[in-house]
Amino acid sequence: MTLVTTVMGLLLALASVGAAVVAIRVRSLPVAILAAGLVSLLAAVLFVLLAAPDVAMTEAAIGSGLTTFLFFFVLGRVRGGGDHD
């Protein structure tokens, strides 16, 4: 375990937690969705660091990719009732 990976991990962790906080705090729903996708993406990178390439691929493809698309699909169809009041 090199220092680099640890520092990278730390940064990634902080970033993902930050993104998560943004996702649940931000007023705009699209931004929230994107932030959640970002959390997923950062997690995928972490997975690589954690020696789990399979998982990383899946998380990237499914967690941050498809899921985000799904959200936007739905978001597009619920415009109006979607956001915070």
């Binding site: 640890t6 730390l10 649940i24 959390v39 997975f47 660091l49 020696a51 998982v55």
Partner: protein, 120 residues
């Protein structure tokens, strides 16, 4: 702090943040978003638990021969589990989204408080 504990701690933090969002935000879509964050956190925890510091991915190739495998690779089982969990998480998310869509179609609202006609 090692990478492992870091991963687990981050995972737990994401779970808690996700749950906080899911349990306090009234907007259905945002609840779902929050749940995906929590799910990601869980996945992170799982992988973190399966991680053995300083080891490599559980793939046998030139770098890792069968004979060395036991000493070189991380625990593959959590990874397999997480793969499954991710897909299942997507399934549930998709389902919830479909529900959200339909709920919105019926009431033109995404406020969870709208859907309390069944109670008591």
């Amino acid at each position: 702090m090692t990478l492992v504990t870091l991963a687990i701690a981050t995972g737990f933090a994401l779970v808690l943040i996700g749950l906080l969002g899911a349990l306090t935000d009234r907007n259905i879509l945002r609840m779902i978003v929050a749940f995906t964050i929590a799910n990601t956190g869980v996945n992170l925890v799982l992988i973190g638990v399966g991680m053995l510091p300083g080891r490599t991915a559980p793939i046998l190739d030139e770098a890792v021969s069968v004979a060395q495998a036991a000493a070189r690779i991380v625990d593959p089982v959590p990874q397999a589990l997480v793969l499954t969990a991710i897909v299942i998480g997507l399934g549930v998310t998709a389902l919830m989204l479909a529900y959200a869509l339909r709920l919105h179609q019926t009431r033109h609202s995404l406020d969870i408080r709208t859907f309390t006609e069944l109670k008591w």
